[in-house]
Symmetry: C2
């Protein structure tokens, strides 16, 4: 993660991709969202989704997985070159979670994060806040997932 | 699900409960949120959560599970008494997802939904829109999860 001072508004990063196999869709839905169109191909085809569809919460959880994997890779790369690492703080929450199109069995979703705004924290002078738009796009380029996130980001230590 | 006309603003329903065992927390995190404080008791104790903590997306997915189970029970009960059943439409999305306190191993979260507002749909005359506040509360009564939801709800067929 970058320090607040190094975070550029407009910068867009690819976090990674996740393929929604029928097996993964059914395993998630069986535990958390047991609706017929998430569990059975035929029921999916007859539904307004037009096929076996992933639970929206599965699409969200897969975003988290790509975000964590991406961060781990960045930390490993920074350590390999002996660079300083900024560790992010907690997120105050998310807004405007949307699933504009269904995610169907076989789809591969690529997730992105884009910095939309940043400001200093009023309550915590050693932190800044960044505001990001997180998205998921399928293999045809269609937007299937988005939400607005925010997170505390450390300011660069003074004297460097 | 109730018809739009029968939906009462202020009505609050308990959807059900979900216990976050250490096993469930680790299984979810291993797939979708592999951060140390979601995977290991000792790492959790040393984190700002103070214990093995559930991924926020696990808390959200468990809300979905209780909501589906509750709806299934309502449909079965309505069928048993020969009553009419209203089938809900899609959700346009969610807002203001918040995790105000951590969910720790052993916690049982009870989920609620409360109707905050309703209006007729402009684009779909056979539907109304309801706006709800969904919450999750732990065994000590502390709020651990909330988001604002909205959903299309069918209007009662005319002539009844």
């Amino acid at each position: 993660m970058q320090y607040f001072e190094d975070t550029v508004i407009g910068a867009r990063r690819e976090l990674g991709s996740y393929t929604f196999t029928a097996e993964r869709i059914k395993a998630f839905a069986g535990k958390f969202d047991p609706q017929p169109f998430h569990l059975d191909e035929e029921a999916g085809r007859k539904s307004l989704f037009g096929g076996l569809a992933a639970s929206g919460w599965h699409t969200a959880a897969a975003w988290m997985r790509t975000a964590i994997d991406c961060r781990e890779s960045e930390i490993a790369a920074a350590q390999a070159r002996g660079a300083d690492i900024a560790i992010g703080g907690p997120s105050p929450g998310f807004r405007n979670l949307k699933w504009p199109k269904p995610v169907l069995a076989g789809d591969t979703i690529t997730y992105f994060t884009e910095v939309k705004a940043k400001r200093l924290s009023v309550s915590r002078p050693e932190w800044g806040l960044i505001f990001v738009l997180n998205t998921g796009v399928n293999q045809t380029g269609a937007l299937v997932f988005s939400f607005d996130g925010s997170a505390f980001v450390p300011r660069r230590p003074t004297g460097e």
